[in-house]
């Protein structure tokens, strides 16, 4: 292990965020040219990571970290091996050109600064994601990529489509993120590892754990949503609502690959199991085909590319899942190739859109003269995408066919899938790269000409990189492909494929692919129509399903909430008291806390009369047929209670109860003079039955509780103490009052606070009144001097 570059990596993790914070201010000052300044940041990152390539290529791993949340065993730690370093290089490298490209593409946009800020934040998040070591740090950055992409997709927020796509991406990837979190925590549980590097050292622990299945499903939930695997693929094409630099960066080269990264990262500890090798290829294959077919239908350049991206991601997942050495090597090579050519093609599509004013492939043609540089870059990228030599894509495609072959029926199926998928991508790639440039000139909304270097620099460099990487393939392999593939496999691998084709099955398969692809390319118009017809016949897709689900949720929520929180006090009260009754009764019955049959009391005649008085008073309150009678009757039960207190040695209580009961009646009478008086409380029979039941159960519950409590022998220690010291230390003979003002004076302090607050609140109620009976729409601002009496 290597811990060199510790502090630099630490700085690298924060640098993009610092730049993001500064971007708006800088942009305000420098305009779009700020791109040159801001691009220094990813460039520096690239240089930093490039400096580590040698170390990593020699088989070492660069790690480092700081304490972060030790209470939760969360470190702020990073881990650079072949896999993460390659990703980091792609992110920072492509990121450099994306920043530049953005400067050209959004020149003059009023929120350019904000855009830079978002895209730099995203860059920081993505970079953090791939080099994180600790699980939670990984998760945090994972979620940050979702959130920043939400902001970027919704950048053009005044359009509903943008907002919809942003929400869609947030929800779908958010859902995956939560699955991922759960998955990581399950893995933590299963293996005890809290970091990726720690996990990789556990070998078979996870595979052999009973939690493997759960972890697998959850991790796949994260990976598939992020990498737009069927049936979660729909958000990605919709995300094309984002400005093109975003599509080029997030939705081709970086973020969508996070899912693939996750699968690759976990392959050494989760792969090579039957489910892994079944589920991943299956979903990957389906995604490849779905992506390919849907791409054919499109005529929008970006959408065509988006669907091929879906297809490519399917291919990568399929390969990763396949699990063989060649499959992993193929996945690694294809991932690198795809990042380069897809990034370039998206930028090309953006340039065309920017310069010609449309991205509709059917309305474009003959731009090669006006935009030669762009055309060159597009052509090179398309060739790579088509898997033709001498580009890196060719190496990848050859390796794919090596990996799949026709070894078994299982692999034969996937070989066919791969051929079909690659052919479709071939066709689309060339459609994007050639159609707008070749043929007769078509009149476009804008008069097209070559864009500024800020725009074409990116595609050119990426296209060049595709060539260069292929030309020096042994070096590329040694520095990037082999360390990465080894990391994915969890064991040293070797990659030897080069531009010099060896005659064999892979080459034949490539030729078949090219032939098929060319055929599709030639008949693209027909195919498009036919696919469109098929899709129209199906008439439904997960994209529409998303809307339906969402509306369903909102409607359902509205209905359900209206049912429960229905605004009716009666419902609230009945339910509440029903639960209170159960709270008394269930434990008494269920937990064996039922009281024994209580001893019957011996009472004097006048005690009986006083108790009876209370009951009579209550009955009178219940049966009173007007409210004033009820209030007067209320006085009876109140007096009876006071007399009970007096009879059982509580003069203070009786005293207070008399006063309070009387004052209650007084206030009732004062208030009643303002109420219109009508007879009331005739409840329908059913309701009455329910109310009586609930009320009786509550009453019985409390009665039984008191039976139970009073049958226990009582510990009078507190009162003995109070009595003992009431006079000799606390200077008072009235023990109750001594308790109130001394032993438990704090209670009384709270109590008078209540009294004062009640007085104040009542005063506010009585005095602060709306002068007129109008509903004020503006509750924040109150009219002065509403008070009538000072």
């Amino acid at each position: 292990m290597e811990t060199d570059g510790n502090s630099l990596t630490f700085i690298a993790l924060f640098l993009p965020f610092v730049a993001a914070a500064l971007a708006p201010a800088l942009t305000r000052r420098m305009g779009h040219k700020v791109a040159w300044v801001l691009a220094i940041v990813p460039a520096l990152l690239f240089i930093h990571f490039a400096s580590l390539v040698g170390t990593v290529a020699s088989g070492e791993v660069v790690t480092g970290g700081h304490r972060w949340v030790p209470s939760l065993s969360v470190e702020f730690s990073w881990f650079l091996d072949g896999l993460s370093l390659t990703f980091a290089l792609l992110i920072s490298g492509i990121g450099t050109f994306i920043v530049l490209y953005s400067g050209g593409y959004l020149k003059g946009h009023e929120h350019l600064g904000r855009f830079f800020s978002f895209i730099l934040m995203f860059m920081g998040a993505m970079q953090g994601l791939v080099i994180s070591d600790s699980f939670l740090m990984f998760f945090v950055f994972w979620e940050l990529t979702s959130i920043t992409s939400f902001l970027l997709i919704g950048f053009d927020h005044s359009r509903e489509a943008s907002r919809r796509s942003a929400m869609q991406a947030l929800i779908v990837t958010g859902m995956g993120g939560l699955a991922l979190l759960a998955g990581l925590l399950v893995i933590w549980n299963a293996t005890g590892a809290t970091s990726l590097s720690g996990l990789l050292e556990t070998d078979n622990a996870l595979r052999e754990s009973a939690l493997y299945g759960l972890a697998f499903v959850l991790i796949l939930g994260g990976a598939f949503t992020k990498s737009a695997q069927f049936p979660f693929h729909f958000w990605l094409p919709n995300a094309m609502e984002a400005p093109t630099p975003v599509s080029a960066y997030l939705h081709s080269a970086t973020m969508v690959k996070a899912g693939v990264y996750l699968l690759m990262r976990l392959n050494p500890v989760m792969g090579e199991t039957a489910v892994w090798e079944t589920v991943l290829p299956l979903f990957g294959g389906v995604t490849l085909l779905v992506g390919g077919f849907l791409a054919v239908r499109q005529s929008d350049l970006k959408l065509m590319l988006a669907y091929t991206t879906v297809a490519s991601l399917g291919l990568l997942v399929m390969l990763t899942g396949f699990g063989s050495e060649h499959a992993i090597e193929a996945a690694v090579l294809y991932l690198i190739a795809h990042s380069l050519f897809k990034g370039a093609l998206f930028m090309v599509a953006g340039i065309i859109d920017h310069e010609a004013g449309t991205r509709d492939v059917t309305r474009l043609g003959g731009l090669r003269k006006a935009m030669p540089v762009t055309f060159g870059a597009a052509l090179v990228a398309a060739i790579s995408m088509g898997g033709l030599p001498p580009l890196f894509g060719f190496l990848a495609k050859e390796e794919i066919y090596y990996a799949l072959g026709f070894a078994s029926l299982w692999s034969a199926v996937f070989t066919s899938v791969a051929i079909l998928g690659n052919a479709l991508m071939f066709a689309i790639g060339f459609a994007v790269a050639l159609k707008p440039f070749l043929g007769a000139e078509v009149k476009t909304p804008n008069h097209a000409h070559e864009g500024p270097p800020l725009l074409w620099l990116g595609p050119v460099v990426l296209a060049g990189a595709s060539i260069l990487a292929a030309l020096v393939s042994p070096l590329t392999h040694r520095l990037f492909s082999i360390p990465m593939a080894s990391a994915v496999a969890g064991e040293p691998l070797d990659i030897t494929i080069s531009l010099i084709p060896s005659i064999g099955l892979p080459l034949y398969l490539s030729l078949v692919t090219v032939a098929l692809g060319y055929a599709i390319y030639r008949t693209l118009g027909d195919v498009r129509a036919r696919v469109a017809a098929v899709l129209a016949a199906i008439g439904w897709g997960p994209d529409r399903g998303f809307d339906q689900v969402l509306r369903g949720i909102v409607r359902g929520a509205h209905g359900a909430t209206g049912l429960i929180q229905n605004g009716r006090m009666e419902t609230y009260m009945t339910l509440t008291f029903g639960i209170i009754a159960l709270a008394f009764l269930i434990p008494l019955v269920g937990a064996g806390e039922m009281p024994a049959f209580p001893q019957l009391p011996v009472l004097t005649l006048y005690e009986i009369v006083v108790l009876a008085l209370a009951v009579i008073g209550l009955g009178a309150v219940l049966y009173a047929d007007d409210r004033l009678t009820a209030i007067v009757s209320l006085g009876i039960q109140g007096f009876a209670v006071a007399l009970i207190f007096l009879l059982f040695g509580a003069p203070d209580l009786g005293f207070t109860q008399f006063m309070v009961e009387t004052l209650s009646v007084v206030i009732l009478a004062l208030v009643m003079t303002r109420l219109k008086l009508a007879k009331s409380d005739h409840r329908p029979t059913g309701e009455k039955a329910l109310d009586v039941t609930v009320a009786s159960l509550c009453g019985i519950g409390l009665m039984l509780a008191l039976f139970k409590v009073t049958e226990i022998s009582f510990d009078p220690a507190l009162s003995v103490f109070f009595t003992e010291y009431s006079r000799v230390i606390a200077h008072g003979r009235n023990i109750v009052n001594v308790i109130l003002v001394d032993y438990r004076g704090v209670d009384t302090m709270g109590e008078i606070a209540v009294v004062m607050a009640a007085g104040l609140a009542i005063l506010a109620l009585v005095r602060v009144r709306l002068g007129r009976r109008v509903q004020h729409a503006e509750p924040q601002i109150e009219v002065e001097g509403r008070e009538t009496v000072a």
Partner: protein, 521 residues
């Protein structure tokens, strides 16, 4: 002093604490005594409402500082107790400064300070004359007292103090909707506190004591003969109602959107959390075994609450009402930790409580400013705020993320802890529910963001960039800072939450702290 207070020659050490009290121990009293005194003085200064805001803000600020000092002392040197009136515990009322109570009290003071600042411009002179600041101070007194007292009946009293002050705040202004909301709020809360009172009466009848530490000591001996499960259930229902747990939550959505929003912020920030706090205390300190019996019920309630809350939020058009339901959803999440009952889960609940106090208050303040910027509370009409008020939008986004438990908000960490705890405890379904509620919260609040901020206004007109009042925005920024801080560097608060959880799981040490002699009775 000694001779004056003891003219009868009684050995005072049998009844009273003889050691002198260090001045630093008074930090334990200030969170209750100072706001109470200030409230009294403001009521005396009724006719000078202009003095109210400065005095109240100053006093709350002092309390906050004193709380922070108390927190750092407790965290460094361990908990301590003070028995009021010098009477030996369990005879006097004991206040206990343990990490759980002090952490929550400190957060509460911060929320109160922010709301007091916010109110200094949003509450007019009539509102002040009729008690806005006294009510805020009394609310703080009640909440602070609840967090610090070690006596169950005293807890009831503090509950009533903050309840009545919440009534006062709720009706301030006397709009029609306020009166309706306040009526439901008041009656249902009265039922809850009365149940609390009845349960406490029964508890006293069983144990003969009110000091929580003393009860905890005695519970084991009485476990066979006393109806402890029933008592635990009664407390669960009473505090569940205060916490607005489903299906005892009705009062909250009926009322929280009706008062001034700064009041909503105070309520959303403080009140329900006191219910959660009380549940933690009763179920883990007083009835650990019975709480275990009830954990299944609590877990089901937790799930229903968190899902119902967020479903309710999705159903609303009025952004104020959305926030009410979001508050409820958070309660469900805290109850999940309560049901799980391991150290991670409890720490998650405590941390979530801190997070929720800050975020819910901030959300209500945000709504107030959104209303001021956008002119309406209706999601059907709001729009265009992203363009007109970018700072507000940024804060809104951060709060949305916090509430949904996403980075870099403060909600992430407690949620991680709770999910971890659920998975550790083989309660995968609980973990699933927590995550699902997080997702739905993202949806509900994400929609608010998309509709109110991103979407242009329906009439197409640009929203004027009305300058928001300074102190309001300042207050919001002030409360957002700790939210972001917890999101990025949760360790200090998390460590405290963890320590609080550890102490909750060790009721014996609490008892030993309060009753060094092992109980006087």
């Amino acid at each position: 002093m000694e001779s004056a207070s003891n003219p009868y020659g009684v050995d005072i050490s049998q009844a009273m604490i003889v050691e002198r009290v260090a001045l630093a121990d008074w930090l334990l009293v200030f969170p209750v005594a100072l706001p109470l005194l200030a409230a009294a003085i403001l009521v005396m200064l009724r006719s000078r409402p202009r003095l109210h805001a400065p005095i109240a803000i100053a006093v709350i600020g002092i309390v906050l500082v004193s709380n922070v000092a108390l927190l750092s002392r407790v965290f460094d040197e361990g908990p301590f107790a003070m028995t009021m009136g010098r009477w030996l515990p369990p005879f006097g009322i004991t206040f206990v400064a343990d990490i759980l109570g002090v952490l929550l009290a400190t957060t509460a003071a911060l929320v109160a300070l922010v709301c007091a600042l916010f109110g200094s411009t949003s509450i007019d002179l009539t509102g002040r004359r009729y008690g806005f600041y006294p009510f805020v101070l009394l609310l703080m007194t009640g909440v602070g007292g609840s967090f610090l007292t070690g006596d169950i009946f005293n807890l009831y009293v503090w509950f009533e103090v903050f309840l009545i002050s919440s009534f006062g705040l709720l009706i301030l202004g006397s709009e029609r909707a306020q009166l309706d909301g306040a009526f439901k709020y008041a009656i249902l809360n009265l039922v809850a506190t009365t149940l609390f009172l009845i349960a406490t009466g029964l508890l006293y009848g069983v144990f003969g004591t009110l000091n929580m530490a003393d009860i905890a000591l005695k519970a084991d001996d009485l476990r066979d003969e006393a109806p402890l499960t029933m008592l635990a259930t009664l407390y669960l229902v009473a505090f569940g109602m205060k916490a607005a747990a489903f299906p005892l939550h009705f009062w909250l959505p009926a009322s929280y959107h009706t008062p001034r929003l700064v009041v909503g912020a105070l309520f959303g920030g403080l009140l329900t959390k006191v219910g959660i706090y009380a549940l933690l205390r009763t179920l883990y300190l007083l009835f650990p075994e019975e709480g275990g019996t009830l954990s299944g019920v609590i877990a089901v309630v937790a799930v229903l609450t968190m899902i119902f809350g967020v479903v309710g939020a999705l159903a609303q058009t009025d952004i104020r009402r959305i926030m009410g339901f979001i508050v409820i959803s958070g309660i469900g999440i805290m109850m999940a930790g309560l049901a799980l009952g391991d150290r991670t889960g409890l720490a998650g609940t405590v941390l979530y409580a801190v997070h929720s106090m800050l975020v819910m208050a901030a959300l209500y303040l945000l709504v107030a400013l959104m209303r001021r910027a956008g002119g309406t509370y209706s999601l059907l009409e709001l729009g265009g705020l992203y363009r007109s008020h970018p700072l507000l939008a940024a804060i809104a986004l951060l709060l949305v993320l916090s509430a949904a438990g996403l980075p870099p908000g403060s909600g992430l960490w407690p949620k991680v802890m709770l999910v971890k705890s659920a998975l550790d405890g083989d309660a995968g379904w609980l973990a699933f529910a927590i995550l699902l509620s997080g997702l739905l919260t993202t949806l509900a609040l994400g929609r608010v963001f998309a509709l109110a901020f991103w979407r242009p206004r329906a009439d197409g007109a640009a929203v004027p960039a009305t300058p928001l009042d300074r102190s309001g925005l300042f207050a919001l920024v002030l409360i957002v800072m700790p939210i972001l801080w917890i999101g990025l560097y949760p360790e200090p608060v998390l460590a405290m939450a963890d320590a609080a959880a550890a102490s909750l799981l060790d009721p014996a040490s609490y008892s030993l702290l309060v009753l060094p002699a092992g109980g006087g009775s």
